[in-house]
Amino acid sequence: MLTNEHIKQRLKEKFAEQVTGFEEPYGMLTFEAPKELNLKVLNFLYDDEELRFRFLTTLGGVHYPANKGRELAVVYHLHNLADNVRIRFKVFTDINLPDIYTATGLFSAANWMERETYDFYGFNFVGHPNLKRILNVEEMDYFPMRKEFPLEDQSRVDKDDEMFGRGGSAGFGTDTREEDNRNSVTAESEKDDAPG
Amino acid sequence: MIMTLIAVDWWLILEKGVLIGGIIGLSFFIAMYTTYAERKVAAWLQDRRGPNRAGPFGILQPLADGGKLFFKEEIIPLASNRFLFILGPALAMITALLTSTVIPWATPFVTKGGSVIPMQVADVDMGILLVFSIVSVGVYGIMIGGWASNNKFSLIAAIRGASQMVSYELPMGLALIAVLFLTGSLKMSEIVTNQVQHGWHIIYQPLGFLIFFICALAECNRTPFDLPEAENELNFGYHQEYSSMKLGFYLFAEYINMFISSAVMVTLYFGGYDIPFVNETSWGLNSFWMSFLSFSVIMTKIAFFLFVFLWIRWTIPRFRYDQLMNLGWKKLIPLALVNMIITAAVILLLNK
């Protein structure tokens, strides 16, 4: 049986002080490593006959604007299917230099996940075969999942608080802007009541 | 010139004209109502009701479709070849309308004056081969239409369709030959008479019929051979770019082809207008009723086959291109050949 303790042991053996931040939130071993080491760690976890973390469950980014110098994190969830153990592995990077080695060589599954992470957070996965936006339009010029960017559609022309229940700061629906007049023809023809 | 015109037997032309008009009208009518039947049968097989809002039971549905298609905008893509784009569906329609020439629709009708009016547009010596020749030209409709659209899906479909249609012509012809052994004539009228006398050909040629039937499905581009218009793959295939009545032509042509191939199958294998198990000539009906009766009989048989066409369509999946070709070339052709040779040998042995 592979225990978290044992994994931790093995990692410590191999990478000594370089892997840090061991935690076990809700039972899942979590640790981090410097971003230069991410591939080494993943390779070790993959190749090691005992650890056999050969299934990349998921990969995602996180943005911590408060952590200066290490704003962005890539989180790998790995799974050892045979022993049924999951671990979480994080790599932090500076938002101004978000270069990280790609894991596509190890896991084919990482390809799109990394593209998505790039799309959302702007990581530069070094060595990725086809690093371009995947979900958003190619023309997009920012990384929408970073905390500073708003969720709402900024270019909306029909944004009308009266219609969409987005009241002013204080109350609800106090702020009424111009009526939606895209359907100019509709507006004209409002008089003739449509039979129904 | 005047003399020529007088020399022409205008009555004959009139008579044939009426007959042709009637048959083309019938083809149209049947085609229209086959679309209706298709929708209804599909619905019933699928526990649904089907169209029921246009007129009582949706009877007017085909008219609605037709009316709508007529008044739809006609689109001819710029990149396409204008003339060919129009020619494609027109060819498909024309060939579909022509195949009905040699089919005997009923027993001849004898007028009071004693002249006999055959209920067959043309009883030519080449009979069934004439149908084949028209069918073999029919492939241009799909090819030209698909190619002229300048759309990749259409092009692929056109090529698929053409390969399929020509491939299945072969086993169809081979299967037919075994029937010709029995009749010794290509004339449709004789083929029917032969069946009236000796029993339906299906009894002697079940395998041949099966091959013929499969090929008929393929020639009409019906499931499981509807690859050229497979909507899940090619998105309506060769008629993807067509709108308005040109689309209507393609759709109509398909249904008319179904109708005619049912008619051909009935004539070749199921005794045409012959009523099974009885000797109707002994009833002493007058010739009008006789013709009428035999006509209803053949229509009933055709209706049955049309139903089978629909039924198959709504039951089974379609082939893949290579499987379809394999079936045609590697299975049906040898099978039809063997069937032919065995039939010949058996007949000769029995004749000894």
Partner: protein, 179 residues
Amino acid sequence: MLTQRAKQVDRKPMTFLESIYLWNILKGMGITISHLFKKKVTINYPEQTRSFSKVWRGLHVLNRDEAGRENCTACGLCAVACPAEAITMEAAERLPGEEHLYREEKYAAKYEINMLRCIFCGLCEEACPKDAIYLSQSIAPANYGRKGFIYKKEDLLIPHPKEEPEAYQKALGEKATIN
């Protein structure tokens, strides 16, 4: 094998009968034809309607109490709970003499739901602490323009139990009994 529970699916090679196509095609045709004679399940909407469950989340209603007073107190919880941000309201203080109109001291002077935004999730119903907003079993009808989907308070309020008792009875339907 990771577990003991794996079970191979049945992927046997084709038998001869299956390989000549016909048998299974005929079988399939048998199945489809048997449906020809089955009762059709189609519901002839709009002539017939299918019965909805009692808890079906359809068009909203704003509730009144037995005396016909509006229940809503414009607390705004429903708007907060609404993931689609479809609810807009304006609160107003109840003036003296309006007690027969509004149950609480505050009431919604304006209450609008944009049915085009609404996703009929029912969270507003759940959020309301005043027994005021409910989703009904009507479906929101289609319309030609976007404006037709702004449901104002008049469109949402249930019929007045006193003033329009008939309409009220109709709106009750067979009154929901199941929780």
